[in-house]
């Protein structure tokens, strides 16, 4: 099976704008204050920055962003073919009483988000945590779902993996369906 293009760069930008719109709507509707976005390494980080940029533009806010690496919180050390690279965790603000929106590229099993919840709560006690993902592709193994999903597709395990590429990390904005798990091959 070869890679199959699901969304091109125009569609990727439109989906990111749609996520920002959903978040902005809820911020206004429910008067959510002290919002900060934390992107999960690797592609959640540029995604969080782009969403925050859009929110700051439309809502005239100054929303901060941070990055979170969940390698130290995984539950499968020694069980994976390779240890995941540790990327930077940089949360330069106090998360106590903040409304944190976790941002990741793909919601699949939910295990990354499980680890991220443990990781982020080790930094403090946020008022609330919500989850924004570019794509919810189904196949959840934990009782975790996204509050804001840019796209929802229901894929079977044997259909392959969904891979979001962003200009900041991969030199293009696109979404592919690939036969290989993008998280276990060498980056």
């Amino acid at each position: 099976m070869n890679e199959k293009l699901l969304f091109d760069s125009r569609e990727v930008v439109a989906v990111i704008d749609a996520i920002a719109e959903m978040v902005a709507g809820e911020i206004k509707r429910n008067h959510i204050e002290n919002v900060a976005l934390i992107g999960i390494q690797l592609r959640g980080v540029p995604l969080a920055r782009r969403i925050a940029g859009k929110l700051n533009e439309t809502l005239k806010l100054d929303i901060q962003t941070g990055s979170l690496d969940i390698s130290m919180y995984r539950d499968d050390i020694g069980k994976r073919k390779k240890l995941t690279d540790i990327h930077e965790t940089d949360i330069a603000f106090d998360i106590d009483d903040k409304s944190i929106i976790l941002v990741d590229d793909i919601l699949h099993t939910g295990r990354t988000i499980r680890a991220a919840l443990d990781a982020v709560t080790d930094y403090g006690r946020p008022k609330l945590i919500k989850l924004a993902v570019f794509i919810d592709r189904g196949g959840h193994e934990f009782p975790i779902s996204a509050d804001y999903a840019g796209k929802t597709i229901d894929l079977d395990g044997k259909d392959g993996f969904v891979s979001l590429r962003l200009a900041e990390t991969d030199a293009e904005d696109a979404v592919y369906l690939t036969p290989e798990n993008p998280h276990t091959k060498n980056r």
Partner: protein, 313 residues
């Protein structure tokens, strides 16, 4: 960080290439942040068991490893030689095989025999981390020294690093030499010729028996402890003579560049290799070395644990 750690043991920096050393150091930088948080613990090694087998006395290295293991959420057993079966004549291999039979994942060991870890590692499926073997190797000390240099100087390539003192008996010196050369530093060794053999020049290192010459262009001066316990014969006439000729003090510090950093692996013999005013002065990074040691050991244990017992997938 594009390479993958594949070794189940950390025996010596001699065995590693520059990319592997950099991987450990990059990983350590993220682990250092864990100890700066309110919750100073991560679940990375939850469910793993680490045995600290110290067949030679140690306080700071053992404490550092133990704390690193706790901050990684590993389960820990400490075995001291004085209270172990080694005293009853059990061989080292039997002792460690018995430990391994308890389904232990990693053994952190210090041993007075050079090469003890190299002997054990291929005979065991658990990971072996060298916490010092005789005069041979002490990889985590060298890694924390290099980590501290990079943190302060922004890099290590092209720097002049001078190691002073008892090179002959020093596993810290050997490990630093391997690591520093692999990362492109220029290394000078200084001290009395009885303790700093000319043979080291074969590694492409400058060897000096004159303090001023050894330190004058150094960006980093790493002083080693004069190890009374490893000197079976006398290598210099007296400690006061050593202090006068090779010690770093108010008088000799003027040979050292103003922006050079002063390091020491501890424990310090104050007033012998290093005067208190310098050990506690602004150029000293001795306590930062201790702090960084924790991060480096967390990184090593994390990487070693990640390469163990690969389940078929």
């Amino acid at each position: 960080m594009s390479i993958t750690w594949t070794k189940k043991d950390l025996l010596s920096l001699y065995d590693l290439d520059a990319a592997e050393i950099k991987l450990i150091l990059d990983t350590a930088a993220e682990f250092k942040k864990v100890s700066e948080r309110r919750v100073k613990k991560v679940p990375a090694l939850r469910g793993k068991t680490v045995v600290n087998l110290f067949v030679e006395p140690s306080t700071r290295t053992r404490t550092s490893f133990e704390l690193a293991e706790q901050r990684l959420s590993a389960d820990i057993i400490n075995i001291n030689a004085a209270s172990s079966s080694l005293k009853k004549g059990e061989t080292l291999l039997d002792t460690v095989k018995n430990i391994e039979a308890l389904q232990v994942d990693i053994v952190v060991m210090r041993h007075s025999a050079a090469g003890a870890h190299n002997f054990l590692a291929p005979r065991l499926s658990c990971g072996i981390v060298n916490a010092g073997d005789g005069s041979h190797s002490h990889p985590t000390q060298a890694l924390l020294d290099i980590f501290t240099i990079i943190e302060k100087k922004g890099g290590v390539e092209g720097l002049n690093v001078t190691i002073l003192g008892d090179i002959l008996h020093s596993r810290v010196a050997r490990s630093n030499i391997w690591g520093l050369l692999k990362l492109g530093a220029k290394v000078t060794l200084g001290g009395p010729s009885t303790l700093v053999p000319k043979e080291f020049e074969k590694l492409g290192i400058r060897v000096c028996d004159n303090l001023e010459e050894a330190v004058s262009d150094a960006d980093v001066v790493n002083l080693l402890r004069i190890q009374h316990e490893r000197q079976k014969t006398s290598f210099f006439p007296s400690t006061s003579e050593y202090a006068n000729i090779f010690g770093l003090n108010e008088k000799t510090i003027k040979y050292v560049k103003k922006d050079a950093m002063i390091m020491h692996p501890g424990p310090i013999n104050r007033g012998i290799e290093l005067a208190s005013s310098i050990a506690d002065g602004p150029r000293s990074v001795i306590l930062e070395q201790v702090t960084n040691g924790l991060a480096v050991r967390m990184a090593v244990l994390y990487l070693v644990a990640g390469s163990l017992d690969k389940a078929p997938s």
